[in-house]
């Protein structure tokens, strides 16, 4: 799922989680992460994951999308679990609950919280120039998204070479991404020109938290 789509839910979602204060949500995420890091009790971790699933179930958020995205850590986790000799079910479940709890809490956060508030809160612990990069990166996502969507449309209309011609296939992907890179660099130049014309010299004072 695209980040731009997730942002839409964060901005226009109507669940009680969307209305909950950012501070409370981020504290909750912190608590979940702390529990995941510190605890190895299957009851605690299992209970935590169950609680998160209940939150997902009883709020009008896009449930299937959230659960699908939060399952992503399992891909690497399987690799990791297979590498543990003589692993027992309990151990596997502990790791699975850790991974899924952390992922679910974060995914819930981004699905229900406007990115400005998330980065604004992070700005309390991160240096200003880093927060500026984060904000600009996020904004740039949307500027480039249109170009990106056009590229994907091109792929759809004009077709990719078949996989059975692997070199041509990879070359086509390479050319498309290469085009995208050049377009992005040009966008970066234009973005900077606009910033300079609007008085930007060395600091993003506009992004300082109130």
């Amino acid at each position: 799922m695209k980040i731009t789509d997730i942002d839409y839910y964060a901005e226009y979602g109507k669940s009680w989680l969307n209305r909950l204060s950012t501070r409370i949500k981020m504290l909750a995420v912190l608590l979940v992460i702390a529990t995941v890091v510190i605890s190895s009790d299957i009851r605690i971790l299992g209970g935590l994951y169950l609680a998160l699933l209940l939150v997902v179930t009883f709020s009008s958020v896009p449930k299937l999308k959230i659960i699908k995205i939060s399952l992503y850590p399992l891909i690497f986790l399987i690799l990791f679990l297979v590498s543990i000799k003589n692993i027992v079910l309990q151990t596997a479940l502990i790791f699975i609950f850790k991974a899924l709890s952390a992922a679910t809490s974060l995914v819930l956060l981004v699905f229900t919280t406007n990115y400005i508030k998330i980065f604004g809160t992070l700005s309390k612990i991160m240096p200003t120039f880093l927060v500026n990069v984060l904000f600009l990166t996020y904004r740039s996502l949307f500027i480039l998204a249109k170009t990106f969507e056009s590229l994907m449309d091109v792929l759809k209309f004009r077709g990719l070479p078949a996989i059975k011609r692997p070199i041509l296939f990879l070359k086509t992907i390479g050319n498309l991404v290469g085009f995208f890179v050049i377009k992005s660099m040009e966008t970066g130049e234009n973005l900077y020109d606009a910033m300079k014309l609007r008085g930007y010299s060395d600091s993003f004072t506009y992004l300082k938290n109130k």
Partner: protein, 242 residues
């Protein structure tokens, strides 16, 4: 395979804190470099390239297994070693927020991918002096960068999972009823062969999945760089650093 998709709660606390500390030192260096060179244009470029990486990662390459582009090596070649880390950090943080890799692992992830970008940059520069054709130069630089960053990943996973006893085996101070603990129950079958993280098995799995990934990414990066070289070669001259 070089991107650490390790979830939270697996890697030892000391290691991911160390990861953040190292990144913190790097950010201090970047801050002073920016102040000294007054090249704030790079902030805009860094951000846009970060967005590019995020968007490109959502292009699924349906090749045997669905593969997602990383582009850290390409980033290193385009931006140089110094600023690549900034882009990579912002990308990793945003990815962690959507559940791709643990939030505690962002520091370590940034180190791994920045190392990849740095290796790719220097190798590309070095090989370009000796070889005319850009495709093989780009391919080799990316491939070796990916291998090295994967090795770093394996090292981190190994270092960070040395003491998994607190999860795997409960005979430690936390055990509340150790004296009466039944050592003959099913949980303790094979107790003499305790659960342990087998690094050799992990490396084998990484090699199997990684080799295809490295090859794909290297081919695609080489084609990308080849395209850029034909259309806008000045982007590869790299006037970003120093």
């Amino acid at each position: 395979m070089s991107h650490l998709h390790i979830p939270d709660g697996i890697i030892a606390v000391w290691l991911w804190i160390l990861g953040y500390l190292i990144i913190g030192i790097y950010f201090i260096a970047v801050y002073f470099q920016l102040k000294k060179t007054v090249e704030y244009k790079k902030i805009a470029m860094i951000s846009v390239l970060g967005a590019l990486m995020l968007l490109s990662m959502s292009i699924p390459i349906p090749f045997v297994l669905p593969y997602h582009l990383n582009l850290s090596a390409l980033l290193g070649i385009l931006t140089g070693p110094f600023y690549a880390g900034l882009t990579i950090f912002s990308v990793n943080l945003i990815l962690a927020l959507v559940g791709h890799g643990g939030i505690t692992i962002v520091g370590l992830n940034t180190i791994v991918l920045t190392a990849e970008a740095i290796v790719a940059f220097f190798l590309f520069r070095l090989l370009r002096k000796s070889f005319k054709k850009i495709f093989p130069v780009a391919f080799i630089s990316t491939f070796i960068a990916l291998v090295i960053s994967t090795a770093l990943t394996v090292g981190i996973v190994y270092a960070g999972t040395q003491n998994l006893d607190y999860v795997i085996h409960k005979h430690n101070n936390i055990c509340t009823d150790c004296a009466n603990h039944d050592h003959d129950n099913d949980y303790h079958k094979g107790h003499e062969e305790a659960e342990s993280f087998d690094i050799k098995r992990f490396i084998a799995l990484v090699l199997i999945t990684g080799t295809l990934g490295w090859t794909l990414e290297s081919f695609i990066s080489a084609f990308i760089i080849n395209y850029i070289n034909r259309v806008k070669p000045d982007l590869l001259e790299n006037n970003w650093t120093y």
